[in-house]
């Protein structure tokens, strides 16, 4: 069984938001929900200033805080390492959202259209609403699942496929010969906030 992870090369990434949009369109997330997100930050004093884009998503931790705090067992870590929410078991207590150190979980109390209320839903939004309700729903915790359905069909997560900078590499962290393992080893990939101890499976390569 593979242990899935992702490696994001910050030298390649130029902060174009294609990963954000690919996730939105593939997972039909409603307004304000970003299973895939790009944070932008700035450091230094002019003219020695730098700006950096940091793509984030659920870190699919090997020791996830969200799982520990879930009172109903809705949060599950699959054998392949992907952390999911079984929506029918979730009671919407949001403990997991509080516990997640990476802010990767979202919940919506009401499905909302991207357009003002009162307009009839477009066929796309009707589809999006239905897809969201089937997979995630309202009043429950939702999160990135590495596009589990795509993996089952031999595909890659939507954010990986969309990335024009080829900044994202997805694969099996347990296979030393996988591209992701080689990249992490060769370029000394690091996780965000390792001191928290959750053992995230999303690695980053240094921007410079």
């Amino acid at each position: 069984m593979p242990r899935y992870g992702m490696c994001i090369d910050l030298k390649r990434c130029y902060g174009c938001y294609a990963c954000v949009m690919a996730c939105k369109v593939k997972n039909h997330t409603p307004p304000g929900v970003f299973w895939s997100r790009v944070l932008k930050g700035e450091r230094g004093t002019f003219p020695s200033t730098t700006r950096q884009a940091l793509p984030v998503l659920c870190m699919q931790c090997d020791e996830p805080s969200c799982l520990e705090v879930c009172p109903t067992g809705a949060t599950v870590k699959l054998d392949n390492g992907i952390v999911i929410v079984e929506k029918d078991k979730c009671m919407g207590c949001k403990y997991c959202m509080m516990a997640c150190p990476y802010g990767a979980r979202y919940t919506v109390e009401k499905w909302e259209s991207y357009f003002p209320e009162g307009l009839p839903l477009s066929p796309y939004e009707e589809f999006a609403k239905k897809a969201w309700e089937e997979k995630s729903g309202v009043g429950v915790a939702t999160k990135c699942d590495f596009c589990r359905d795509r993996l089952e069909n031999g595909g890659q997560p939507a954010c990986v496929e969309a990335c024009s900078a080829n900044a994202r590499t997805f694969g099996d962290l347990d296979d030393p010969d996988s591209e992701i393992s080689i990249l992490i080893k060769k370029y000394r990939g690091e996780v965000l906030n390792p001191e928290i101890g959750n053992k995230p499976k999303v690695y980053y390569l240094a921007p410079r």
Binding site: C16, E42, F115, E161, S164, N166
Partner: protein
């Protein structure tokens, strides 16, 4: 037993086509489930994109289904026009709309058909080349422009790149370039032509270790990704580039003599009396000085030419004085070398703000990284061939060229490449898109191998417009409403048509007709040209009747349109040629050629109809179909690489009515053979064939030279100014014709000359990755994405500057120019901008009532852009888009 009905997916299919959210037009696959578009991805089969697609393309389901789309024809019932006027729309039938339009066009034709004026958007560049051109030829009007496009991003860049690279733009050969100098351009960082492919290539280059230095007033995406960000004053890139040319030639002594001798007009002998070429008396060809035979030779003499790198030839003089027919002449290279001496590092520092030591250092680094003398061997169709390797490149686009020094600045930035031989060879600056090719092997089309004119200079075989950028048109007495016929160096002019004395000018230039009917295709020129009031009052309101093909009712329709027609978006239409003309938008590099098409992934919704189909319908009603077809047949020859075969030509006598699909099918069969018509190309959305290496690195496989000395500009300037004076043009504008000269210079913008200390800030605009032109701001996915970014809807200001002015992060402000035009916004404080600059992402600040998602977001920068001659480049008539402004806090009382 009762069963629960399960929704059954009856249809789940992916359809290949091309994106249309911007002019990059990448290959995409669109997922359709039970008739609904649900997902979009890149098309791996298409060289344009190769499976990746940007944020805009991904978001396009919302464009197709946006409830604010125009779905039915509408007419204006309020006769009043202008900004802020309620048009009082009334829904009408297509029949009524087309009957009215045809009636108005017939009236126009009776008065003078030239009164019809086509205005179009760059976003739908591939559609323009059919419906617009066919109609213009059929109806017999010369009046046309791409609003905003040419003025802001093209007059200087495309003209100069056409001369130097037979292409629309330039870009590093990212695959091999080791040192790229980016003059504030977002190519390779999410925008510009071939955006996705360039981003992939630029990321690969970073990964490989390629170095980038970016000159930019603010810490843009391209500056943030660079190894070194060099803050520079807006509008001074030309001075920086000429400083580099000086530093290379006169400080470090680094230049590629072989390249200059055989691939440029650097050795052409110039006579001192008038700066013209010294020509051979017999052949009239320019002369060079053969250093072996110690005598003059015509430039094309086999003993002094090298087409391929391994050809043998005598060395020719690049410096010195040589007497020919009793005249002491000097090679043009030496004149350039002397001319640029005034661009000392110290002078450059004074103009640009870049420290003199940095100018010198970067020039040296660039020159050394060029590895002059190094070669590589590539596998061509004629076996292995040695070519120079010059892994350095400069590149630029809109920010650099949007100034009153546009033409010479574009040339100067590219000149740096030509000094070290880094042009269209391994590792150097490539033309973008890929402009040179011998075509699909079975048909020889599209054939686009450039050639040398009698003077030996590079001539494009294929171009985006009717006239190639070189040789230049001879200026003629104007017949166009923008006087364009007089100005061979410009693509479009705006200082004429937006002038309050426009009609007076038409009389003076003996143009005996007036603007009458405007046909608008997708453009929102009220927002994309410049100051909205000037554009609306001086130009748009002069038309008797305006009808518009649109996706949304934009500020343009609200202000001036009489009828709005519901156009299809790119997901609902056919287009037979998207990635061609390749000069415009085809990826460069070694990947295959790919001729992409658009096909509808859903039938047009509501009463939307495709622009090209409607233009055929209108033309049929007007009885001009034959000439319309002839216009398309003729246009395909120059734009798409070769005349149509008789077999596939559209029937020009009008006896056959061609459907739009038939037009598409014929064009494809003509290019790729009977078996590769529309039905075939639809399968993958693209027709591909291998690119030859000698087409990628074409410089040393082609006999043509490029100019570093623009001798023919002198003639052109004399011709234009003479014509101008004959008509009394100086009564309207005092144009500085001295810009028509042979050697490059930098000229200050009005923003650099402002003396009122109140206007202490330089404002400029930049391009946010999730927006293209103005339409994308209505897409709620993209809008949300824009709000995720800290700067997309803000005015960026240095935090110390803000503090000095008592402005806090998030404060609402006005930006006001010396002419009294002001725009509103809110500020984001940053350390990532030169302290005297303000950065605004364009084109934002919508105020119209029919694009509610876009409304009120960001700042309408273009309102600060003055539409007048002082803000226009006298060489290319490009518009200046940097402004001197004052910034002050806004409170509730002075909202309007």
């Amino acid at each position: 037993m009762a069963t629960t009905a399960q929704p059954r997916i009856e249809e789940d299919t992916w359809i290949p086509t091309c994106c249309g959210q911007c002019y990059c037009m990448c290959g995409i696959k669109v997922r359709r489930q039970n008739g609904v578009i649900t997902e979009i991805a890149g098309n791996p089969d298409a060289p344009s994109g190769r499976g990746s697609i940007c944020v805009k393309g991904l978001a396009s389901p919302h464009l197709l289904y946006d409830p604010y789309r125009v779905n039915y024809p509408m007419k204006r019932t309020n006769p009043e026009k202008g900004l802020g006027v309620d048009p009082k729309w009334e829904r009408i039938s297509w029949d009524e709309a087309l009957e009215t339009i045809v009636e108005r066009l017939e009236e126009c034709r009776a008065r003078d058909p030239r009164g019809a004026y086509f205005q179009a958007t760059t976003t739908q560049a591939s559609e323009i080349r059919f419906g617009v051109i066919g109609f213009m030829k059929g109806f017999k009007t010369p009046n046309y422009w791409v609003s905003g496009g040419g003025l802001h991003c093209g007059n200087g860049a495309h003209f100069m790149n056409g001369i130097m690279h037979v292409s629309w733009s330039i870009i590093p050969d990212f695959a091999h370039c080791n040192y790229a100098l980016n003059f504030g351009c977002s190519k390779g960082h999410g925008a510009g032509h071939v955006a996705v492919q360039n981003a992939t290539q630029a990321a690969d280059a970073r990964f490989r270790g390629g170095k980038t230095v970016t000159f930019d007033p603010f810490l843009s995406a391209q500056a943030a990704k660079a190894h070194e960000w060099v803050p520079i004053k807006v509008g001074t890139d030309g001075a920086m580039a000429l400083g580099m040319v000086n530093s290379l030639l006169n400080e470090h002594g680094i230049y590629d003599a072989e390249y200059l001798m055989y691939k440029t007009n650097g050795p052409y002998l110039i006579r001192p009396s008038d700066g013209r070429y010294q020509r051979d008396k017999e052949t009239d060809k320019p002369l060079v000085w053969d250093l072996v035979d110690n005598c003059p030779k015509v430039h094309s003499d086999p003993s002094v030419t090298r087409v391929q790198y391994e050809d043998q030839a005598h060395e020719v003089a690049l410096t010195g004085t040589y007497t020919v027919d009793g005249v002491a002449c000097r090679p043009s290279f030496e004149l350039l070398k002397e001319h640029v001496k005034k661009y000392t590092p110290e002078y450059v520092e004074e103009v640009t703000g870049v420290p003199a030591a940095t100018v010198s250092r970067i020039s040296k680094e660039f020159g050394e990284a060029a590895e002059i003398g190094s070669t590589v061997t590539i596998e061509t169709s004629e076996g292995p061939k040695k070519i120079p390797s010059r892994p350095v490149a400069t590149h630029f686009f809109r920010g650099t060229q949007g100034h009153v020094n546009s033409g010479w600045t574009c040339l100067s930035v590219d000149m740096v490449n030509h000094m070290v031989g880094a042009a269209d060879t391994w590792g150097g600056a490539f033309g973008l898109g890929a402009a040179v090719g011998s075509g699909y092997e079975k048909t020889g089309k599209p054939y686009q191998i450039p050639y040398a004119c009698p003077d030996g200079l590079l001539v494009a075989k294929t171009w985006v417009y009717d006239h190639v950028p070189y040789p230049m048109r001879v200026p003629k007495a104007p017949t166009r409403l923008d006087l364009h016929d007089m100005f061979p160096t410009s693509i479009y002019n705006a200082f004429t048509i937006t002038n309050p004395r426009w009609f007076e000018m038409l009389d003076r230039f003996k143009i005996d007709y007036k603007p009458d009917v405007m046909i608008n295709f997708g453009s929102n020129s009220v927002m994309t040209m410049g100051n909205a009031e000037q554009v609306t009052e001086n130009f748009l309101k002069k038309f008797n009747f305006i009808f518009s093909f649109q996706l949304f009712v934009t500020e343009f329709e609200e202000a001036v349109a009489d009828i709005v027609l519901p156009d299809t978006c790119f997901l609902e239409r056919y287009t037979p040629a998207v990635s061609f003309p390749s000069t415009f938008s085809h990826p460069q590099g070694e990947d295959d050629w790919g001729w992409s098409i658009r096909q509808p992934v859903v039938e047009p919704l509501y009463e939307r109809r495709d622009f090209n189909e409607v233009m055929l319908d209108i033309s049929k009603r007007l009885g001009i179909l034959g000439d319309y077809y002839k216009g398309l047949n003729d246009s395909i020859g120059i734009r798409y690489g070769g005349e149509m075969d008789e077999k596939y030509k559209l029937v020009e006598d009008g006896s056959v009515e061609h459907s739009w699909e038939d037009v598409c099918d014929r064009m494809l069969k003509d290019r790729f053979g009977e078996e590769h018509g529309l039905e075939h190309v639809r399968q993958k959305g693209v027709f591909t064939w291998p690119k030859k290496k000698e087409d990628v690195y074409w410089k040393w496989f082609n006999a043509a030279r490029v100019p570093i000395y623009f001798e023919y500009f002198i003639d052109s300037g004399e011709q234009i100014s003479k014509l101008w004076d004959e008509f009394g043009g100086q009564d309207f504008f005092d144009i500085d014709w001295s810009r028509f000269k042979a050697l490059a210079d930098w000229y200050p913008c009005p923003s650099h000359c402002e003396t009122n200390p109140d206007y202490d800030m330089f404002a400029f605009y930049w391009r946010a990755v999730m927006h293209c032109n103005s339409m994308t701001q209505q897409n709620p996915y993209l809008d949300e994405c824009g709000q995720e970014d800290p700067y997309v809807y803000a005015v960026q200001i240095h935090k110390d500057t803000a503090t000095e002015k008592g402005i806090a992060d998030g404060d609402n402000v006005w930006l006001e120019n010396p002419e009294g035009h002001r725009v509103k916004g809110w500020v984001a404080l940053t350390d990532g901008i030169e302290p005297h600059h303000l950065a605004v992402a364009a084109v934002a600040g919508h105020w119209g009532n029919y694009m509610p998602v876009a409304k009120g977001k960001g700042t309408f920068f273009n309102d600060l852009v003055e539409m007048d001659l002082p803000h226009t480049d006298p060489l290319t008539f490009n518009q200046d888009i940097c402004c001197r402004v004052k910034i002050y806090k806004r409170n509730g009382q002075d909202e309007q």
